[in-house]
C-alpha cells in the first residue's frame, strides 16, 4: 500500500474545510481517508455525506461541494450542467468493486456460470419466461429460480446490466431488489433457490452464509474458464466483466485550495491500503501514481489558466 507521506510535517498549518458527498458505495473509502487525514492536517474539517451518486452529482454540478464520490462515471446531462455552471472537474478512479454472483450454500448444482447464461437470466425478455433453473442449463433441477439484486436506482445495478445484458438498465423487473446489500445477503442466505449479485465486500463478510459462483466470460485473453472474484482476480482484470471502478470527482475551483490538493494527494497515496481495509479492491500501484500526475497537471493547469 502507499504510505504517501513525502510532504509530511510542512502541512500541519493547513486549515479550511472540504465538503464531500455522493455514493454510499464509495463512502467507506472516503471516510477512511478523511479519518487518516485528520492526523495529517488536524485543522482541515473534512465532511462526507451519503446522498447517492445522483444526489452528490446534483450538488457537485451546482458547485455546492468540492468533491463527489461516484460509483459510476458522470453522465452527459450532468457534464452539461457542470459546464453551464462554469465548473470543470477531473475524474479520478480510486478502487475497484467486484460484483459477486452468489447462491445459497446448499445449492449443489451451480458450479459456475457464463456471462451468456447470466444474460439469459437477467435480460428483459426473461421476465415471466425464465422461471426454472433447468431453463438455463438442462442438467440443473426443475425448480423455481429466485432472483435477488441491487435496487434499480443504484450504480451497482447500472453496472451489472451494462456488463451482463450489454445495455444499462435493461433487465427483467421481477426480482427482489434492495438498496441495502445486507438485505440481499439475508434473502439469498435463507432461500435455497436463490441467485443474486452484490458488492464483493458483502460476500467477503458473509462467506459462511453464501456461495460465490465463478463467472466465465468465455474470453481467453483475460484468464480462462470460470473465475471467482478475489483480490487478485479483480486487480489483474481477470475477473471480468463484473469488476467496476469507483471514482471521485474534484471541482477545479476547489483544486486551487491547498488543503484540497493535499487531501486529494493523500487520498491517492492511501486509497490502496484503505480501500482494502474497508472491503474493496485496490488498483495496481502504478495506476495511483498515474492518477496523481494527472491530478497535479489538472491542479497546476487550472492555476495557470487563471
Amino acid at each position: 500500500g502507499g504510505g504517501g507521506s513525502e510532504t509530511e510535517g510542512a502541512e500541519s498549518d493547513l486549515s479550511g474545510s472540504i465538503q464531500i458527498d455522493g455514493s454510499s458505495t464509495v463512502y467507506p473509502i472516503t471516510e477512511a481517508v478523511a479519518e487518516e487525514f485528520r492526523a495529517e492536517a488536524p485543522d482541515v474539517k473534512v465532511t462526507v455525506g451519503v446522498s447517492g451518486t445522483g444526489g452528490g452529482m446534483k450538488k457537485f454540478t451546482r458547485g455546492e461541494i468540492d468533491i463527489v464520490d461516484a460509483s459510476r462515471t458522470i453522465n452527459e446531462a450532468e457534464s452539461k450542467l457542470a459546464q453551464e455552471n462554469g465548473i470543470s472537474f477531473i475524474e479520478l478512479p480510486v478502487a475497484y468493486d467486484g460484483l459477486t454472483v452468489v447462491v445459497h450454500p446448499e445449492n449443489d448444482w451451480v458450479k459456475d456460470i457464463t456471462v451468456a447464461e447470466l444474460k439469459k437470466i437477467w435480460e428483459p425478455e426473461a421476465q415471466g419466461t425464465i422461471k426454472k433453473w433447468n431453463q438455463i442449463r438442462p442438467e440443473w433441477p426443475d425448480k423455481e429460480i429466485h432472483l435477488y439484486g441491487a435496487g434499480v436506482e443504484s450504480g451497482t445495478y447500472d453496472y451489472f446490466t451494462e456488463a451482463i445484458v450489454g445495455k444499462s438498465h435493461a433487465s427483467r423487473g421481477d426480482y427482489t431488489a434492495s438498496e441495502d446489500d445486507n438485505v440481499l445477503v439475508q434473502g439469498v442466505s435463507t432461500d435455497p433457490l436463490a441467485l443474486g449479485f452484490f458488492g464483493y465486500a458483502y460476500y467477503e463478510e458473509n462467506k459462511g452464509k453464501l456461495k460465490a459462483v465463478p463467472v466465465n466470460d468465455e474470453d481467453e485473453s483475460n484468464g480462462s474458464g470460470a473465475i471467482l472474484p478475489s483480490l487478485e482476480t479483480v486487480k489483474d482484470g481477470s475477473y471480468a466483466p463484473l469488476s467496476r471502478p469507483l471514482f471521485i470527482y474534484v471541482n477545479s475551483k476547489a483544486a486551487e485550495r491547498p488543503e484540497v490538493v493535499e487531501f486529494v494527494n493523500f487520498y491517492l497515496d492511501n486509497a490502496g491500503e484503505l480501500s482494502q481495509e474497508v472491503g474493496y479492491i485496490p488498483m495496481p500501484a502504478e495506476l495511483y501514481e498515474e492518477q496523481k500526475q494527472k491530478f497535479e497537471q489538472f491542479a497546476t493547469g487550472n492555476k495557470q489558466a487563471q
Partner: protein
C-alpha cells in the same frame, strides 16, 4: 344464559382481550429492547460516546451524532412548539367553522400524510438553497419542524377542545379578553394533552433520517457543531449508515447507537410523562 350474563361475559372477554393486546404491545417492545440491548449494550462505553466516526468499528464513536441530535431536538422544539401551538389555538379558538378554517383543517391533515422524504426535498429547495442556510443544523431543524407541525397542530386542537366551555365562560365573565382566557385558562388546562402530542411528534423527528440525508446532513462529520449554522450529523443517519455496512461489527455499533437514541427519547418521554401526570392530578372534571 340471561342477557345480563351475556353482557358480563362480553365484559370479561373484552377485559381479557384488553390485557392480551396490552401484553402483545409490551412483549413486542421487550423483544426489541432485549434484542437491541444484547447486541449493543456491551459496545457502549465512554470512548464510544466521545469518539469521532471511524472506518474501524471498534474505534468508531457517536460524539458528533448525539451532539447533532441534541442540537436538532432543541432547535426543532424551539421552532415547532410555539408555531404548532399557535396555529392550533388559532384554528380552535379564532377561526372555528369559517371557510378558511375548513380549508386549513383539510390542508393540515394532508400535510400530516406527506412522506418525510418530500419534506426533505422541500427543505433542500427552500432552506438550503433559497435561504442559503446550507446543510446546516438550522436548515435541518426547520425541515423537521415543518414535518412535525401538523401533528403538533392537530393534537393541540384536540387538547384545547377538551377544555369545558364553562371554564371559558367563567373567564370571559370576569372581564378576561379572549387571549387572556386562552393564555390563563385554556392553555394551562390543555397543557398535558398538548405536551403528549409534541413529545410524540418530537420523538418522530428524532428518529428521522431520510429527509435529513436529502437536505445534505452528512455521515462523516469529525467535529461537534457549535452554532446553528454548522454542518451536522444525527444518530439515525449514523445508524442507517452503519446498518448498511458489510462488517458485522458495525451492526453492533448500530445497536449501541440505537440504545443511545432510545435513551434520549426515554428522557424526553419521561419529562413529558412527569408533566402530564402532574397536570392530570390537578385537572379533573
Amino acid at each position: 344464559m340471561t342477557n345480563s350474563d351475556l353482557n358480563r361475559y362480553k365484559d370479561k372477554a373484552f377485559q381479557v382481550f384488553g390485557i392480551f393486546c396490552t401484553f402483545i404491545g409490551l412483549v413486542v417492545l421487550a423483544i426489541f429492547l432485549i434484542g437491541i440491548l444484547i447486541d449493543g449494550l456491551g459496545r457502549i462505553d465512554w470512548d464510544f460516546l466521545v469518539s469521532l466516526p471511524s472506518r474501524r468499528a471498534s474505534r468508531a464513536g457517536i460524539l458528533t451524532a448525539w451532539a447533532g441530535t441534541l442540537w436538532i431536538l432543541v432547535l426543532t422544539t424551539i421552532i415547532a412548539f410555539p408555531l404548532g401551538v399557535a396555529a392550533g389555538v388559532y384554528l380552535e379558538e379564532y377561526a372555528r367553522k369559517t371557510k378558511l378554517a375548513n380549508f386549513l383543517e383539510i390542508n393540515i391533515a394532508n400535510l400530516a400524510g406527506v412522506p418525510s422524504i418530500i419534506y426533505g426535498l422541500l427543505g433542500l429547495e427552500i432552506f438550503v438553497r433559497q435561504m442559503k442556510l446550507g446543510p446546516s443544523l438550522l436548515a435541518g431543524a426547520l425541515t423537521l419542524s415543518l414535518l412535525i407541525l401538523p401533528i403538533v397542530i392537530v393534537t393541540t386542537r384536540e387538547a384545547i377542545k377538551a377544555v369545558p366551555r364553562s371554564i371559558r365562560e367563567a373567564s370571559f365573565a370576569l372581564g378576561a379578553s379572549k387571549w387572556q382566557t386562552i393564555w390563563n385558562q385554556v392553555l394551562p388546562a390543555s397543557f398535558g394533552g398538548i405536551l403528549t402530542g409534541v413529545i410524540l411528534a418530537l420523538s418522530r423527528a428524532v428518529g428521522e433520517a431520510a429527509p435529513l440525508i436529502v437536505i445534505g446532513a452528512l455521515a462523516y462529520v469529525p467535529f461537534t457543531p457549535s452554532s446553528p449554522l454548522d454542518e451536522f450529523t444525527v444518530l439515525p443517519i449514523q445508524i442507517f449508515n452503519w446498518t448498511s455496512r458489510p462488517q458485522a461489527a458495525f451492526l453492533t455499533n448500530a445497536a449501541a447507537a440505537i440504545i443511545v437514541l432510545l435513551l434520549i427519547t426515554f428522557l424526553l418521554n419521561g419529562i413529558a410523562v412527569y408533566l402530564r401526570n402532574r397536570q392530570q392530578k390537578k385537572v379533573k372534571w
